[in-house]
Amino acid sequence: MSVPAPSFDSYDSDDSVAITPSRPSTSRSPIKKSSPSHARVSSTQLSPSKVSMQTASNLSPHLQPFLEAQKRACLTALAKPPLLSSLSHDDDAVRADAVTFASIVNLLEGTIDRGEGNSCLVLGPRGSGKTRIVRETISQLTLSRTSEGNKSSSSAQKSASPIVVWLSGYAHTNDKLAMKEIGRQLVLQTGSKDLGIPDDNDRDSEDEFETDKGSAGLAHLNSILPPASHLSSIVTTLSSLPRPTIIILDAFDLFMGHARQALLYCLLDTVQNCRAGEGRQGVAVIGITSRVDCLNMLEKRVKSRFSHRIIRCSPPSNISAYMTLARAVLKTPLTDAEAKLIQDSDEDVSETSLLSWRTAWDRSIDELLDTREAQRVFKETFELVRDIGLLCRILTPALLELTPTSPWITPANFVSSARQQRAPDRFPFLSEFSYPCLSLMVAANHIHTGGHETLTFEHLFDTFSRATKQSSSVNVSLDGVSIGLQTLPREILFAAFEYLISIGIFKHSGTSSSSTARQFVRYRCEVDKKDIKAALDKKNHTQLKRWFSRAT
């Protein structure tokens, strides 16, 4: 930028369009010609002074500390994005989220307060926040129980905080491992090896155990498993534990692959036989899965014991909810503690500068999200996957790139980070590869065009040597040096070939025994023709380009 842009601060205090000449032509112009609805948004949210917000490239020194803090705040929020229901937005998606939340709470309250046996399945696509929502409910319930318990410790029996056992199908790949894990978590939470079954003052013992763990953690590694004889009957004793139990099965579908679905059968049987009263506690089993045909895979005897209560968890159902989430995360306010810290560390920073930072940042985010490029990215991403994790991954690099010299997220940054995170090039930097590697790729492409599905090194070398021969036969030279394709020794090509195998560009194809000589092992090339073409164009290697475009 040739015109030095004034600092943001001066521009914020003065509402006139101060630095319009220095505005890059790409940054805001599309907005002016956007659709009516878009124009409405712009007119209501943007004043003329904000137009060149993103062009105020340098941050004035007294605002710089806020940028780091803001980045930290936003990244922390991205690591744990807020639940849709927590955002004040009147929307179907939000309501659906709230309904899910409420139904899990209801279910668990039944188990905890009334000693019911409950089972349910939380079903939703990847990244829709299933685990998150279950965690939130349980922590909320535990919190409320603990506070209640503190208030009226005498009636602690009713409001005892539940024992929560987390199992994951990814880690506990068979029933034995799962049972051991149940045992371990029960011992840790009840505080005694006999699981506190005859005991009635379990809360104290748990506290003792908690304090104990820190000091002698290592010794406990051995002793936190209940006796092996106990282990086999551990599931059936769940309802006689001193406190209600919640068992969460993450990746529920993987538990169905265990032999005879024995664990599921036992768990669901215990749940079904759980009778309220009689001094017994409730048991709840919550399965979390993304597999829609999950129930069909259950064996008949297991299925009949399952309550068939399915709680659905859905990602944002429309784009406005999706964008609301992004806006909420990006506009995360600085915590008071952080703001205070900045103010303490720097005398120049005053209360007003915090305020001006706040408005400036929020305005820049509004501007960004209203640009046509950003909206397109959101729309495309939303139409591909509604995974909130992906949204967070797109926003992360864009935030990280902010520096005091370019303190606002530009649409260009946003688009490029979206491209890298959403559908990255499988082989980036193809054009940076050395000449032997590119020659091999071109040769592989010619072999593929010739109708061969697989290739061997001999074939590649043969193709390459033919090409060099053909190119050198055209007797054109420049300053006494032939300008044909440069010949390469076989060994160099073979080294390049092995390198390309190691980075996954050539992949084994079909069966090959270990006795096959290396130059005859069959491979296939994973790079597309158009990628090779783009790489050659970028590298601008005339000879290779000519060979590539020549029919063989």
């Binding site: 980045k71 930290r72 990244l75 922390t76 690591a79 990847r126 994951s168 990814y170 880690a171 506990h172 790949t173 491992l177 894990e181 371990r184 763990k213 820190g214 953690g217 290592l218 010794a219 406990h220 590694l221 051995n222 936190i224 990746a251 993987l254 995974d387 994790g389 992906l390 991954r393 992360t396 690099p397 990280l400 790139e401 980070s417 890298q420 995170q421 990255p424 499988r426 082989f427 980036p428 930097f429 940076e432 590869f433 050395s434 000449y435 032997p436 109708g451 061997t456 001999e458 074939h459 020794p489 060994e491 160099i492 073979f494 080294a495 980075i503 996954g504 025994s513 006795s515 005859f520």
Partner: protein, 514 residues
């Protein structure tokens, strides 16, 4: 996302799972910036079993070193039990470790860098998903960084159970960066003798040398590591004329007599006796621009021959340097010699010397049997009853049709020629027949075979050759009979050399030779 942004991300808010795509193997230049308080770096190639992986992670995070003195105990000693037996106990140990390292105001932050993570897919496929979810499963603040030369789509399990990582790529070094990196590798030990190849005084010359080397080799080799290997192999030879001149002038100064050339040790420096006496920089001049240009001009051909030999590792760098050292009498003022010959793979020549004619003929026969289609044997080796050879070469693929017009018989479109597709197996009987035909062809019709003796001898030789991996048995059975399948493992150039020594024309007996 660029790797440069990663340190700030790890400092601000470390995500649970990151994948670094590193096609140019440059992560080691960045690992220093990725370290957290508790950091462990593991190469997945080493992790042949889950137990190895678990112990490496825990011992690394706890900075526990295994030694003979404590009976090679892992972290926690015997009292903690066998925590590396399964994933559950590993997680348990991990949680205990996290709790131990916890301070009053902060949780420990772990970083696990798994290099060559694509190997997990082959070695420990079941652990990819649990590892990717380690932070979730262990409920602690841990960042798993998978680093691989392959893209994430190649590592990720086929069913979509793994969480998606934050994707990071490492771009290659640019040419200028490569050169400056190579120059920075010039060692700077605290004290070196004045006349040594890595004297700090020689660094300016080294910079020119690296630039010339880079411009000569960059077309074929762009990996900085390989270039550094080549540079290190060529430098002693390159700098030796300068050192010789320094020696000569020093000796002249000392004795006042004519210059004497001491023998130079090519591998690292020269004798350094009495350097302290005349340690003046002026006595050791760097070559002038003209001399330098001449030096570079002289050594330029050897740069490309070095890359052609050393990049595929046809020879050890030290052996190559010794072989291609300039003669002691060489001075930078001399005119350049002709280019050095590129090293060929010498294993073939040594092999040829140790084989008898009989064995060589067998190997040629095996090559012919592997690369000629069976249906052509009769055409290639058939003889009439008079013993006169009737050879019908191909090219007879023209046949008359009924109408009297000719059509060329077309080779099927997708059939790859035998020489490119690799050797095919053949039965022992066919091999022996071809061998005998070749024997007759070589020695004329007069040779009479004692069939039985020859056969026994041949079977022994075949077994020997299989042992030497010059022939391969493709069947599994132990018994050797006529139907045993064999395959050649020699290549065209070697069989051509053998045929030449036997005065056979290989192109005459090969069906499909270009």
């Amino acid at each position: 996302m660029d790797i440069k942004l990663l340190p700030s991300l790890l400092a601000l808010s470390p995500p649970p799972f990151i994948h670094i795509h590193d096609p140019f193997d440059q992560v080691s230049y960045h690992t220093d910036t990725l370290k957290a308080d508790y950091h462990v770096e593991i190469d997945c190639i080493e992790c042949i079993s889950p137990r190895v992986l678990y112990t490496r992670i825990i011992n690394g995070l706890a900075s526990w070193s295994v030694s003979w003195d404590n009976a090679c105990e892992c972290w926690g000693g015997r009292s903690s039990g066998d925590w590396s037996a399964s994933w559950d106990s590993f997680i348990q140990a991990f949680t205990v470790l996290a709790r131990q390292l916890q301070t009053v105001d902060s949780q420990p932050r772990f970083t696990l860098l798994l290099r060559n993570a694509d190997m997990l897919r082959e070695i420990l496929p079941n652990l990819i998903v649990p590892l990717a979810r380690l932070s979730e499963l262990s409920n602690s603040s841990v960042t798993i960084i998978f680093c691989s030369k392959c893209p994430w789509v190649d590592t990720r399990p086929v069913w979509g159970s793994s969480p998606d990582p934050l994707l990071v790529v490492i771009p290659p070094l640019t040419a200028a960066q490569t050169i400056s990196h190579l120059i920075s590798l010039f060692p700077s030990p605290p004290s070196t003798p004045r006349i040594s190849i890595y004297n700090p005084h020689l660094k300016p010359l080294y910079e020119h040398y690296i630039q010339a080397l880079h411009s000569a080799c960059a077309l074929t080799v762009s990996d900085p590591r390989q270039l550094a290997y080549i540079a290190a192999a060529r430098w002693p030879g390159f700098v030796s004329p300068v050192l010789q001149e320094w020696h000569a002038s020093r000796d002249a100064r000392r004795s006042g007599k004519g210059p004497r050339v001491p023998p130079t040790n090519q591998d690292g420096g020269t004798s350094s006796e009495g350097d302290e006496e005349d340690d003046d920089v002026e006595h050791y001049p760097l070559p002038t621009t003209e001399e330098r240009m001449r030096l570079l001009h002289h050594f330029k051909p050897s740069f490309s021959s070095a890359s052609a030999t050393l990049y595929p590792r046809l020879k050890h760098a030290r052996a190559w340097a010794r072989q291609n050292a300039p003669p002691h009498t060489f001075r930078s003022s001399m005119s350049p010699e002709k280019a050095l010959r590129t090293e060929q793979d010498s294993s073939a020549n040594t092999l040829l010397q140790g084989l008898t004619t009989h064995v060589k003929l067998m190997l040629v026969a095996s090559y012919v049997a592997s690369f000629n289609p069976i249906r052509t044997d009769a055409r290639m080796f058939q003889r009439t009853s008079d013993g006169i050879k009737r050879r019908l070469r191909k090219g007879g693929g023209v046949r008359k049709t009924r109408r009297g017009t000719t059509t060329k018989v077309l080779v099927p479109f997708l059939q790859l020629s035998r020489s490119l597709a690799g050797p095919s197996p053949f039965p022992l009987d066919r091999f022996l027949a071809i061998y005998e035909a070749l024997c007759i062809e070589m020695k004329g019709d007069t040779v009479s075979f004692d069939r039985e003796v020859t056969r026994v001898q041949m079977l022994t030789t075949v077994t020997e050759l299989v042992g030497m991996q010059l022939l391969q048995r493709t069947g599994a059975d132990e018994k050797m009979d006529g139907s045993t399948m064999l395959k050649t493992s020699i290549d065209l150039s070697l069989s051509q050399k053998m045929a030449k020594q036997l005065k056979l024309d290989l192109s005459e007996i090969l069906w499909d030779i270009e």
